[in-house]
Amino acid sequence: MIIALRLGLVAALLLAWELASGRLVPEFFVSRPSAIAVALANYIQDGMIFFHMGVTATEAIAGFLLGGGAGFAAGLLLGRQPVLADVLDPFLTAFYSLPKVALAPLYVLWFGIGIEMKIVLAATIVFFLVFLNTYSGVRQVSREQLTILRLMGASEWQTMRMVVVPSAVSWVFTGLRLSVPYALIGAIVGEMIASNRGLGFVLSDAAGQFSTANVFAALLVITVLAILLNMAVRLAEKMLMPWQHAGNRREFSV
């Protein structure tokens, strides 16, 4: 039922778009669904779009893993070392407030216009999201659970592995889920600024040629990539946190 309504909504919007285009709004600005479908078909037939998609996906995923890994490690370290966290706090806040995209020109100077620059840009954005979430997660670890393990003779490393990390992991995933679109922003903005490959390049190239249908087709491909990455993170979440998804069939009580 819901799905039927959704499909109906999409059909209605596409129809309205198709009819309005060229009549109410100049086609130059909004293109039309049929033209976009043709543009998309051309992209797919040509095959180059998969190459560009692969480039962007590689940048986003590499940036995601690099930034996520560094953010997770930094969050764990600072979460367990409150003094260090206090010392670094103003610097981190300052760096956090900086729009990371503004670093792109600097990264071009440092890393050139190759894939490295986009990876580092995406990683920088992802780092803070994952770092902040991991840090909060580590700070919220139950003191009682830590104490119980210490009484059992657990070492710092064992409490880290058995309590701190699993307890923080749901926060980490919140950070990772938030990061997916930002990793793509990093990759695509990087490509738009300086590149001859990737979906950001396709997008700015199409816009440069005033081909609105191609711009919309590129946006569609980017959306598909974002959805795929999102699904991958959710799948990883399910696999790594089985306890959150274990069916709760016991009686409800208050």
């Binding site: 139950s142 009682e144 659970q145 104490t147 119980i148 393990l149 210490r150 009484l151 059992m152 003779g153 657990a154 070492s155 064992q158 058995m162 309590v163 699993p166 307890s167 992991v169 946190m241 089985p242 306890w243 274990a246 069916g247 709760n248 069939r249 016991r250 009686e251």
Partner: protein, 265 residues
């Protein structure tokens, strides 16, 4: 015959907590010696410092005044020779029952096979066989208690600190676990400090019962439980000596409970 060894010694222990910057006396002048291998139950009105003594023994707090010695040495920091079963089970939500019970054995570095075998033993002991793969969130309160008890036994500590461990259990299972606790403790010479509000339980499992009076907490009386060491808990209720001790405990604690009630109103 071995000489009795004092495992735990409290000397004139005072404990204060602070609330809004003011020191609130919680425990006053506690003197208590617990021998190795002895089972001591602690009873008394709520908030009279029974749990505080367990916390001091575990090394979570140091006494405000007086001395607390474990095995002849002052307790400094976390005391890893005790196992502590608090009122909250503190199971790890991200580990299933088997994983939770394995925690102390992983810390001790037991082999995978040994861990598995011991965990199965303990699960069947506490009646949780078949629930190995269940997560704590999927268990009832009583089942979580049983899992926590199995974890405590898996740790196999020298001294067991237990804070109302059987409170949430049904009468049959409670009796079974009381008997099992006594059997394990006596067989392996464990020292047990056991807080309970159930006076029958306080007599049934104890070698000695320490009765607290409230606010600030202090020891009102120590009742030696003169029942046989190898008593049969399942037949205890028909034993006149047992019933006499229960009546005795009741007569000591009833005025305490009444005054505790009056004080809290």
């Amino acid at each position: 015959m071995d000489w009795p060894v004092t495992m735990l010694l409290f000397e004139q222990v005072d404990m204060d907590f602070s609330a809004n910057g003011r020191a609130v006396p919680a425990v006053r002048g506690v003197d208590l010696a617990v021998e190795a291998g002895e089972i001591v139950t602690l009873v008394g009105p709520s908030g009279c410092g029974k749990s505080t003594l367990l916390n001091i023994t575990a090394g979570l707090f140091a006494p405000s005044r007086g001395r607390a010695l474990y095995n002849g040495a002052p307790i400094r920091g976390i005391n890893t020779r005790v196992g502590y079963m608090t009122q909250n089970d503190h199971l790890l939500p991200w580990r299933d029952v088997l994983g939770n019970i394995s925690v102390p054995m992983e810390i001790a570095g037991l082999s995978q096979a040994r861990k598995r075998e011991r965990a199965e033993e303990l699960l069947s002991l506490v009646g949780l066989s078949g629930f190995e793969k269940a997560y704590p969130a999927q268990l009832s309160g009583g089942m979580r208690k049983r899992a926590a008890l199995a974890r405590l036994l898996a740790q196999d500590p020298e001294t067991l600190l237990m804070d109302e461990p059987f409170g949430a259990l049904d009468a049959q299972l409670r009796l079974l676990l009381q008997a099992e606790l006594r059997r394990v403790a006596k067989r392996f010479g464990k020292t047990v400090l056991f807080v309970t509000h159930d006076l029958d339980e306080a007599v049934a499992i104890a070698d000695r019962c320490v009765i607290f009076a409230g606010r600030p907490g202090r020891i009102a009386e120590v009742l030696p439980i003169t029942l046989p060491v190898d008593r049969d808990l399942f037949k205890l209720r028909f034993d006149p000596a047992y019933n006499e001790l229960c009546a005795r405990l009741w007569s000591i604690i009833a005025p305490e409970l009444a005054s505790g009630l009056a004080a809290s109103q």
